[in-house]
């Protein structure tokens, strides 16, 4: 396990540098006007940031209220016996619930947890892995089935939710295994 951890740690130094250098290099190789493409894509940064503001506000303030009222503490205490059976920290419950429903909302929760617990806390890692390893199931279903006007979705929702739930649990276990 330790060797695996070390190997992963070593490899992880390369991720961002490889992205930073690899994409432009690949672009050059494919004769893409790399600088112009970069600027073209980068223009969206501002719009994306501004677009998520209302989502961030909606989720952050509601969660902040929930915490300040003492309701979060009560919920955590009430669910702790159940959740500790499967090794799931109650702090991640909001993330697990919101993930399948709203992408920007769950990004807001990651931001909130960074503020609450600090960037290198294990909860932030778990939340980030949850965010990165699953999709906004309901949104995907709405867009794809909406596009071809399918109304009877059959087992799409249960299958999506099963996969989401397993992703949430696996995220917790994987982070525990690698960083715990």
């Amino acid at each position: 396990m330790d060797t695996a951890r070390n190997a992963i740690n070593l490899l992880s130094y390369f991720i961002i540098p490889v992205m930073l250098v690899g994409f432009p290099l690949y672009g050059l190789y494919k004769r893409v006007p790399v600088y112009e493409s970069f600027v073209e894509g980068g223009k969206e940064g501002f719009q994306v940031a501004v677009r998520i503001i209302p989502y961030l506000v909606a989720i952050l303030f509601a969660i902040a209220m929930f915490r300040a009222s003492g309701a979060m503490e009560a919920l955590t205490r009430a669910l702790d016996p159940v959740l500790s059976l499967i090794g799931f920290p109650a702090e991640l419950l909001p993330m697990a619930i919101i993930r399948s429903l709203s992408g920007s909302g769950s990004a807001a929760l990651v931001a909130d947890m960074i503020k609450q617990y600090g960037e290198d806390s294990i909860y932030v890692k778990m939340a980030a892995v949850m965010f990165g390893s699953s999709e906004t199931t309901f949104y995907v279903i709405a867009v794809y089935f909406g596009a071809i006007s399918i109304r009877k979705t059959r087992h799409a929702v249960p299958a999506g939710l099963i996969s989401d739930a397993s992703a949430m649990l696996l995220a917790v276990w994987t982070v525990r295994l690698l960083f715990g």
Binding site: S69, G70, T137, A159
Partner: protein, 337 residues
Amino acid sequence: MLNYIWAGLIVTSFVFALGYDVRDLSHDRYRNGKPLPVVLAFPEGYESAARRVPVEIRIEPRQFAEFYGTDQPPAASYPGYLLQTQEGTQLRFQAGAKLPEPLATIGKVSHSRDDELQGRLAGFSPPLAGQGTDTLVAASGVVFEPVWFVKLNAIGAAALDFAKTAAEIALGLIGVLSLFLGLLKIAEDAGIIYALVKVVRPVLRPLFPEVPPDHPALGMIALNLTANIFGLGNAATPFGIKAMEELQKLNPSEDTATNSMVMLLAINTASVQIVPPVLLLALLGMEINRLIFPILITTALALIVAIVAVRLLGRLPGYRASDPNLNPSAPAAAPSA
């Protein structure tokens, strides 16, 4: 669904806050209007004419415990000062003092600058000069400002505070978002999606048995998945929709999903990604380095679960009965969501 969860959060917060506050009020947790016995020591002497006199505030632990009904012990003494105001002599604890509950809360809602805990002195008789000791001591009581509806105020303050934080976080992301969106645009323009399609396509065959081998649907599905793998959400969606349209051409029914459609959706929701979502990159910065592998492991396992779930659920009698490929005149018994 999200509507109910969101509204539920807000309403629950209100109910809980109100509940806690009513409980505090009925137990008189903050002893509003009643004096807490304290002993004041004057290390620099006492001068009745001075507007501001430094004091050392000593609280007897036993009296404190009895007064507030708590078991958090106070420190041996707290630095503070006396202030002569129009309403009489005020006692203020120095800002930043480590106070036990409920004093900490009383201090937080106090109206003074710097959140100093402050109260009106009651039954204070100035120490007589010339007692012969270096420090003068006087017993007294302090009546703190009344505290009402702490939690109710706290949820309001938290909401305003975090609304501001939300905008700050979002604006702080602009730079990194631009960086990665720019990089991904290069990858997209370079056709990185097409580089992997040849690898992905054969793997997909067994997952979509209903689709004929040369049907364009498979190509679209492969493009959709590869775009997802590289985190190109903007490119993935159009391919996904195109794939759905192709699958719909093979669908004998108008409004019922085929097994292939459900499979495509499940694979999409499991979201296999080498490049993590741009928002996550922007939020975590370099920290993402260490999370890529956990994300890959998790997402790969979740994908397997998704595929197995689609297959197994598809065998359930209810879903078999609603399969448009098995019964072209699909019965209305299909569970819809």
